[in-house]
Subunit: 190 residues, 2 copies
Amino acid sequence: MELLKERILRDGKSLPGGILKVDSFINHQMDSELMFRCGEEFIRLFADKRVTKILTVEASGIAPAVFAGYLAKVPVVFAKKATPKTMDRHYVTTVHSFTKGRDYSVLVSKEYLGAGDRILFIDDFLACGNAAIGMADLCKQAGAELVGMGFLVEKSFQGGREKIAETLPGLKVESLAIVTGLGDGTITLA
Amino acid sequence: MELLKERILRDGKSLPGGILKVDSFINHQMDSELMFRCGEEFIRLFADKRVTKILTVEASGIAPAVFAGYLAKVPVVFAKKATPKTMDRHYVTTVHSFTKGRDYSVLVSKEYLGAGDRILFIDDFLACGNAAIGMADLCKQAGAELVGMGFLVEKSFQGGREKIAETLPGLKVESLAIVTGLGDGTITLA
């Protein structure tokens, strides 16, 4: 998606350790117009999948996910990283965070994920693929059908796409921008 | 806002301890169409405030905030509850959570909040007002002007509005639905 690629090249920052900083328009300050366009693009890319619900994970996936949900007229569920007092029955999985360097739990209430749901998972980054695999596990526990995954930015050199292909063969995975290299202050896109 | 009030009466649940559960349409599963309408209503209510940026806090404030930002064509910043690796300089404040029963830090990068910003703070709940006061503190530290606060749901019996009026006299505060009482399975709206 050209709009997103241009923005990454203009405002993204390559930091040591394979980190791409995009917090001026995606994951701290958000460009809502750009997030709307990204949501629109996800809906176009997965138009043939008869999606009934969008799943994301707090917090940076929420913006593109709610725009996609708005346009497709389907509910959006965001998985939580802590158990709220008000949630009694839930599915839970463990995810290793590349950026934070530790494991965390991700959970979804049993009320909002279940058999009959055709799930599109949307998130900001595909890096090592750990969050994606965790979300697939939640869908599996719930008996929901995962029909696709859409990411704003994929870092192709961290193996996430390969891990998803291995664990979930045949699943459609789309990334709106693919970063093939992060150098000393340089960003290379596919 | 009638649409939101009807939904709270239909799908909200009153739980012991003054908790209103709205996680089927606001803070776990989200009704994007409803969140769009709420964002639209915030923009209408604060149309005279020349808002330049919307501030919210992860995660449940993000949906109404990004729709409001999209419609008003202004950036949206969500304050974070943990320090990301990629954020070096930030403003930080401490907030006591009523629901979680503990203190937590909330922070915003110095890059995205500053003098010249006219801030509308949007969040899902106004209860005791602690998060709201914390966000006002972040704005003050940054030299940004806080011009209003908008909430999806206010629990009027928990003193948040009074606390804001005392700490920030004259600030415009709008809630799209005001809950005046939560009984044993009953919800009373203003």
